[in-house]
């Protein structure tokens, strides 16, 4: 039996649950939005215990895999409920980190994405070029960087989601603000955006054509993004699989920029990818692959 954990209405989770239902795979959903009557009991060893759902009880040792997209507990006006749900969330995350089963992905494996320049070093070690990056508190250093590398974008250093913006004239006028907090700048890399979802050893690549700097926010900026399924060379696909594995991720969303001659630069590896957006646009069977991986693959300890 496999487990799904997260917000029930999260499209990525909902699609995987639907795929399990279609495939007839036994599963249980621990929905963070429906925790009334739910208990998660965990023994001192961090692996034994049970999940109690209304009208159902599942031993943790009966679970062979879990697809987890744990998000912050829902706010509750009732302090006792909020405390109970926060505690349950904490136990669940600890179990996901410790359980001797296949987990997509273990919370402790997701941390590399918490620092972009940190992750960039790991990405490069796995054989991908990364964008030239500067993190600084010095406006003059930013100006020198621009003079050296040409157009640059700026974004958060951490995993906090931020809209990638071009350092244009208006933004350059605010450069003094970097003195208050180190800020990340990256050389703009020409080419086409490709998102690669790795599930175990399978790759699903999507080509994104968009005039937007950050295609995720194209619509908000009055622009479009066209998504098309595409094929990677065997070598590039293998490199993507190796990169995900090197980061300890079974499921990963890898953001590439492909230059016209085929050279790939990797920007980021998302350990909790919202693959549903890409699946919905391309029809790639990513949710099926997730369920297949959890249901078929022997447990990883």
């Amino acid at each position: 039996m496999i487990c799904f954990h997260g917000y029930g209405d999260d499209p990525a989770l909902a699609r995987a649950v639907a795929a399990a239902e279609r495939a007839g795979v036994h599963h249980v959903v621990v929905d963070q939005q429906q925790l009334t009557g739910v208990e998660f009991e965990l023994a001192d060893d961090g692996t034994h215990g049970q999940v109690r759902l209304p009208g159902r009880r599942v031993a943790l040792t009966d679970l062979t895999g879990c697809y987890a997209r744990p998000l912050a507990p829902l706010p509750s006006p009732d302090a006792a409920t909020a405390a109970r749900e926060a505690e349950l969330a904490g136990r669940m995350v600890a179990w996901l980190d410790a359980a001797p089963i296949t987990v997509l992905n273990r919370p402790r494996a997701m941390h590399s994405n918490g620092s972009k320049p940190y992750q960039a070093q790991l990405i490069a070690a796995a054989g991908f070029a990364v964008p030239r990056t500067l993190v600084t508190t010095d406006p003059d250093a930013v100006r020198a960087f621009v003079a050296e590398v040409g157009p640059v974008v700026f974004k958060s250093v951490s995993g906090v989601r931020s809209v990638v913006r071009v350092l244009d004239e208006a933004a350059a006028e605010r450069l003094e603000q970097v003195r208050h907090l180190p800020t990340q700048f990256q050389a703009r890399v020409p080419g086409v955006d490709v998102r690669v979802h790795v599930v175990g050893e399978r790759c699903f690549a999507t080509r994104i054509e968009s005039p937007a700097v950050d295609y995720r926010y194209a619509e908000r900026d009055g622009l479009t993004a066209e998504l098309t399924a595409c094929e990677l060379s065997d070598e590039l696909a293998e490199r993507c699989v190796r990169l995900a594995a090197a980061l300890g991720l079974v499921l990963a969303g890898i953001d590439l920029k492909l230059a016209p001659e085929g050279h790939a630069t990797c920007f980021e590896v998302n350990p909790m990818p919202g693959y549903s957006f890409f699946e919905a646009h391309t029809g790639q069977p990513i949710s099926e692959a997730i369920v297949q991986h959890l249901a078929d693959v022997p447990a990883l300890v």
Binding site: D44, A94, H111, G114, S115, Q121, T136, T137, S158, V160
Partner: protein
């Protein structure tokens, strides 16, 4: 910028970290030099208020130059012998102290991300390998440590801790048995930490573990200082 001698050992710690302070003093005494030139105890906030220049090249090569507040000394990559980052508190600069809670949380997250990248770039010159969200290294829940210990055949418990075993490089201090020492070394390796603490209950069962030892046990400070000096000597030799 005045020229500074190589600070062999850099410890980044919170102001109330008495273990870090005691270790810095022990390193200075053991090295037989003035503290200033053998060990640099950098408050986390000074690092947060520092002047930073951190780059990552397309091939992943990192380069860092930081001048911790008050910007009188600098830490460039080639000056670093070893860094022990022990801080567990979110770093906040005065500029953000007056901001909203969300601003402060964002600033702390951004700074932690930068610290982690800097430390990762130092390779084996750090005592503990950082995580992306935790420059001090593995910040795992006690449940995870117990599960990892149980998977190695150790008894586990949630009773109060009554004893600490310290791993400081090759040395293990406070282990009652060889099995305890082996377990502590194995878990330290899993956490990629050369200085590691296993806490046990009165029956020798594993309660918790961590990569920022309190350094309160007998001989713990001396063992940590010895580790830092050995690593710094190796770093200089390299």
């Amino acid at each position: 910028m005045p020229t500074t001698r190589r600070p062999l050992v850099t410890i980044v710690a919170d102001a109330d970290d008495t273990g870090a302070r005691a270790t810095a003093q022990a390193v200075a005494l053991a090295a037989g030099c003035g503290t200033r030139h053998t060990v640099w105890l950098v408050p986390t906030d000074a690092l947060a208020r520092g002047r930073w220049h951190h780059t990552v090249d397309p091939d992943g090569t990192p380069r860092t130059h930081v001048e911790p507040w008050p910007h009188r000394r600098s830490l460039a990559d080639d000056q670093v012998g070893v860094v022990w980052f022990r801080s567990r508190c979110p770093a906040v600069t005065p500029s953000h102290g007056a901001g909203t809670a969300a601003d402060r949380a964002y600033a702390a997250t951004e700074l932690a991300a930068l610290f982690s990248s800097w430390l990762l770039g130092l390779g084996d010159r750090v005592v503990t390998r950082p995580e992306g969200t935790s420059p001090a290294g593995a910040a795992w829940d006690a449940t995870v440590w117990r599960a990892l210990a149980a998977a190695r055949g150790a008894a586990v418990s949630t009773d109060p801790a009554s004893r600490r075993v310290l791993v400081a490089g090759d040395r293990v201090v406070g282990a009652a048995t060889d099995a305890e020492a082996t377990l502590a070394r194995d878990l330290a390796e899993q956490a990629a930490s050369r200085c590691f603490e296993l806490t046990l209950d009165a029956h020798g069962r594993v309660v918790d573990a961590g990569v920022t030892p309190a350094l309160t046990g007998p001989g713990h400070v001396a063992a940590a200082a010895g580790l830092l000096l050995r690593l710094a000597a190796r770093g200089v030799a390299a």
